[in-house]
């Protein structure tokens, strides 16, 4: 029997495309953020709240992933920024090739901030690099504080954890302190940001976090 060493990443083709995307984002100074959560945790609502707060001349765009329907893109288009829906037709996550294809006719030099709303799923999106500067995972207070322990991969790989729907805390048995401890057990030192898009509590901290990231993303070429 011949032993042939390969030593390569299984998703190397995805990673190759993600690397070219990351290089393009860096070249144009585009901050790309990959939002991941269970279905119904509030990714689209957070984006609505975020887009609503931006002035119309802000160079922001959204790619919204779903298995079916254009519903999310339609909700987000109301704010006047470029939004494109990626319907995967059954695939439970976005991969780098889908991002590359859907960005093909968008001038990146006119996009400073690109949100990717991943397919609602806490498992599979964690494995696919999309060339983003950071993954952000959302956990709503209706989901239970043990989710970080059940789905450690995505919490481990995310730069920021947003706890959403905090206005519902009085009505659900969600132990926020335990949730934060669980998050930090999986990802020591990760930043955690609780907020409510209904009341607006904590949204300022999220917008501040975004501005802080945007400053780090200076373009390599002048616009």
């Amino acid at each position: 029997m011949n032993h042939v060493a390969l030593e390569k990443k299984i998703l190397s083709e995805n990673d190759r495309i993600a690397t070219t995307l990351r290089d393009r984002f860096a070249e144009h100074g585009t901050l790309c953020l990959n939002l991941i959560s269970s279905p119904g945790s509030g990714k689209t609502t957070l984006l609505e709240r975020t887009l609503q707060s931006f002035s119309p001349d802000r160079h922001v765009a959204v790619l919204a992933g779903d298995i079916q329907t254009e519903n999310d893109a339609n909700r987000l288009k109301r704010f006047g920024f470029p939004v494109k829906q990626i319907t995967t037709g059954g695939t439970c996550h976005l991969d780098a090739r889908m991002i590359e294809r859907h960005l093909a006719d968008w001038p990146l030099d006119q996009i400073d901030l690109l949100f990717i709303e991943n397919v609602g799923n806490l498992v599979c999106p964690a494995s696919y690099d999309l060339g983003e500067a950071a993954k952000i995972v959302l956990l709503s207070v209706t989901e239970g504080e043990d989710k970080p322990l059940k789905y450690p991969s995505v919490f481990f790989k995310s730069e920021l954890v947003i706890i959403t729907k905090t206005d519902l805390l009085p009505y659900v048995p969600f132990d926020q302190q335990a949730a934060e401890e669980n998050i930090r057990r999986v990802h020591p030192g990760v930043e955690i940001l609780p907020l409510s898009c209904s009341t607006g509590a904590g949204v300022d901290r999220w917008l501040h976090w975004l501005e802080k990231q945007a400053v780090k993303t200076e373009p390599l070429v002048s616009k």
Partner: protein, 120 residues
């Protein structure tokens, strides 16, 4: 359930490598899956077997090595296994230790043997 896609990617790599070795046929592909990779080994094994069935690769076995999560303490410089998500340094109690292993999703090697073409 993205294990089908991962099994496809493994098979793509096996096919590509097999093309580089005329006269050899793949018998086993060995991979490493970290505890934090977010991949279910049973689902991956099942997907792999389903995909090779009835194809020229149906004799290829998938061998999965599960890699534990290892952290490094920045103060003591010791490496330790994280059990039940307790990532504190077992020696000094430092909370902010660094993950150095456990999110692998890699092909380590192939085992191949000579292929005798059957006469018609």
């Amino acid at each position: 359930m993205h294990e089908i896609g991962i099994a496809e990617a493994i098979l793509d790599a096996v096919r590509a490598e097999t093309r580089q070795h005329p006269g050899l046929i793949a018998r086993k592909v060995a991979i490493r899956v970290g505890e934090l990779a977010g991949v279910d080994p049973d689902a991956l094994q099942f997907s792999f077997e389903a995909l090779v069935q009835g194809t020229p690769l149906d004799l290829v076995q998938l061998e999965i090595e599960i890699c534990p999560r290892l952290h490094l303490c920045p103060d003591c410089q010791i490496e330790f296994r994280v059990i039940d998500f307790d990532s504190r340094c077992p020696r000094c109690g430092q909370q902010l230790t660094k993950c150095v292993s456990g999110d692998q999703l890699e092909i380590s090697h192939l085992e191949m043997e000579s292929y005798e073409p059957r006469s018609a």
